[in-house]
């Protein structure tokens, strides 16, 4: 009896075993004599234990999430504001027109100023919303398209599957940056185009994983059982396929999100992504590159902002996939 009820859930999840990692001890089997309806619907999940690095990483991600919401509100200046020369007059000096560009950090601009004399901190805070917002929407779009087509390929028969897979292979066999460059050269770059383009490019890798999981789940015993019971195809998608895909796909979502951030900042860095005067971390690095020879920190700050976010996400993903036995990580390379 307990065997049957366990098999309808993910085989990876073991019954609660306290803090020990013995997985052959099955407390549910011990209670086997009790009535069938007293068994829980699904065994409670094992809690993910995060390493210290993972906990710090979660703090970093939470910080940037807050900045996406409140960044522009707490920014000392507007992203497009040129700081007034009067702010930089050194007391006692008789120069009424001091330089405002590439200023080092000070009480006026906590992270210094950029090549046009704008406040770097404010631009980072505004840019958080642009960069993270665009990347997040693109990743969701990639998942929407990729998972839908992936499940269609997994259940839709050989012809549909091979057409979708061939086209997908062709897209995957181009470097992502090349696809980006080709499309942007033809239709230019606005934020909606950028989101659509990134979403579709990354949908192809999501498709591959979703299809693989879909095919795996479709031949499993519990789907067969559902079919024998006479469940419809929508029921099977909604109650068997999707719930069994969520955990592994969630870690992939994190990785994919990192790739999307790097892709979009890369395009912006090439001057082909988010266009000025809107601030975006990738284009901020590009604009301020000319200050590098003078040791200005303006190009380094946005690059470090990207790095903190992407490293943090990767560390969380590492912890989560270690929790699921590392099998996922191998699957996702």
């Amino acid at each position: 009896m307990s065997e049957l009820s366990n098999s309808s859930t993910d085989g990876n999840r073991t019954a609660p075993t306290g803090s020990s990692d013995i997985d052959h001890a099955n407390p549910v089997a011990g209670a086997g004599s009790s009535a069938f309806e007293e068994l829980p619907d699904a065994p409670p999940r094992r809690k993910i234990r995060f390493s210290i690095a993972g906990k710090i990483a979660m703090g970093v991600v939470a910080f940037w999430a807050l900045m996406v919401v409140f960044g522009p509100t707490i920014a000392p200046y507007h992203e497009a504001d040129f700081l007034d020369e009067a702010l930089f007059i050194v007391p006692g000096s008789d120069d009424p027109y001091p330089q405002t560009d590439f200023q080092p950090p000070s009480g006026v601009a906590y992270l210094g100023t950029d090549y046009l004399g704008r406040d770097t901190l404010s631009r980072i805070l505004y840019g958080a919303r642009t960069t993270i917002g665009i990347s997040l929407i693109s990743t969701f779009l990639a998942y929407l398209v990729g998972v839908t087509l992936g499940i269609m390929a997994a259940i839709g028969g050989v012809v549909l599957d091979s057409i979708l897979s061939r086209v997908n292979d062709a897209i995957l066999s181009m470097p992502t940056i090349m696809l980006g460059l080709v499309v942007i050269s033809a239709i230019g770059s606005t934020i909606p185009i950028l989101i659509m383009l990134t979403g579709l490019i990354y949908a192809s890798s999501v498709f591959r994983i979703a299809r693989a999981f879909g095919l795996d789940i479709m031949v499993s015993d519990f789907v067969e059982a559902a079919r024998v019971r006479g469940e419809g195809i929508w029921w099977i998608i909604g109650r068997e396929i999707l719930p069994n895909m969520i955990m592994p796909m969630a870690t992939d979502f994190g990785l994919r999100f990192v790739y999307v951030i790097l892709f979009i900042s890369g395009l912006s860095f090439l001057g082909l992504g988010v266009q000025p005067p809107q601030s975006d971390w990738g284009s901020m690095v590009r604009e301020n590159l000319s200050g590098l020879p003078y040791g200005a920190i303006a190009p380094l700050v946005p690059a470090l902002a990207i790095a903190t976010l992407t490293i943090a996400i990767n560390m969380i993903v590492d912890d989560v996939s270690a929790h699921s036995g590392g099998k996922l990580a191998a699957r996702m390379i």
Partner: protein, 322 residues
């Protein structure tokens, strides 16, 4: 059987290349905004547009233009740069623009491969031989950090330290083609170093994972249980079985290097093929973009093909696809 598997993969490779060429063609030709418009710009009148379009063959159906373009490309005629990146380059044959740039890019990536491959293989192997050791943890932690930051962070950081603060190397890698010896090496140093760091961390991680995977297989366990010395296990049992997957890893990572090359050539204004392509995208010189994209994608597919071959040759079970 081996022949059949190789032929099958070759056919798939050629088919993929054709599909990619269709994608590139659709991407640049069917979408709104054609070359005639760009060339004439403000001076466009309906008559002059129509005349130029028929001269360039733009008035024919898309599929005919595709085959004309493909035929030209196959015979080495890459067409003429139509928008031009500056007045002087309008009407220059694309092959003349590309040739010197391609040499520059190939020279840089060859140096990167020569340095990065032995370095990352040995470090990856070391990390895999002593998993959990301090060395292993240092390597995995550093490489995780390096692969999750953008290439331009590595590049700007290196410029700041090596060019600005220590004043050892030039901050840009502009070369005119006449430099030789030390001067050329100095100009190439920073872009090469950036790419070596980016590529090595990927190869190190994947080598480590591959070797660990081999080391956890039943026949290694068997060798340990029957008392084979550790050195002999690694050199006689594990290494031969890891060669195929490792060649696979190297080829894949050289393929991933494409996007790194695009960023690095831009950071250092290195006159390579990728810089040419980025400039062409900015001036919307579609024929030039098409030609560059085809070269990059063909290289990428070729490397992935090599990676595929390596795994087939090393694992007989892959020769008989189910």
């Amino acid at each position: 059987m081996l022949m059949a598997a190789v032929l099958r993969r070759t056919a798939v490779g050629i088919l993929t290349m054709l599909l990619v060429s269709i994608l590139i063609f659709i991407g640049t030709s069917v979408l709104p905004g054609d070359v005639a418009n760009i060339i004439l710009g403000q001076m466009a009148t309906p008559e002059s547009l129509a005349e130029l379009r028929s001269k360039l063959g733009l008035d024919r159906p898309a599929y005919i233009r595709y085959f004309m373009w493909l035929g030209d490309m196959a015979t080495g005629d890459l067409g003429i740069s139509k928008a031009g990146s500056g007045a002087a380059t309008i009407g220059t044959p694309i092959s003349e623009l590309i040739a010197p740039r391609l040499t520059n890019t190939l020279r840089m990536t060859a140096i990167v491969a020569i340095i990065a491959i032995p370095l990352s293989l040995s470090l990856g192997l070391l990390a895999a031989m002593y998993p959990g050791s301090r060395l292993d943890r240092a390597i995995t932690f550093t490489t995780l950090g390096l692969i999750s930051v953008p290439e331009f962070l590595v590049a700007t950081f290196l410029v700041l330290v090596l060019a600005v603060h220590m004043d050892l190397l030039p901050a840009t890698a502009y070369i005119s083609g006449r430099e030789t010896g030390l001067k050329l090496l100095k100009a190439l140093a920073l872009p090469t170093l950036t790419l070596v760091i980016v590529a090595s961390s990927q190869i190190m991680r994947m080598t480590r994972a591959t070797v660990l995977n081999v080391l956890s297989s039943p026949y290694i366990e068997m060798a340990i249980l029957k008392g084979v010395p550790r050195k002999r296990i690694i050199l006689r049992h594990a290494l031969f079985n890891a060669v195929g997957p490792i060649v696979n890893v190297i080829a894949l990572n050289l393929a991933y290097l494409v996007s790194g090359v695009v960023i690095v050539e831009t950071v250092f204004s290195y006159p390579g093929l990728a810089k040419l392509m980025v400039d062409a995208v900015q001036t919307r010189d579609l024929p030039l973009v098409q030609a560059c994209a085809m070269i990059f994608c063909a290289t990428y597919i070729l490397l992935i093909f090599i990676a595929d071959m390596a795994s087939i040759l090393s694992n007989p079970r892959l020769r008989h696809p189910k």
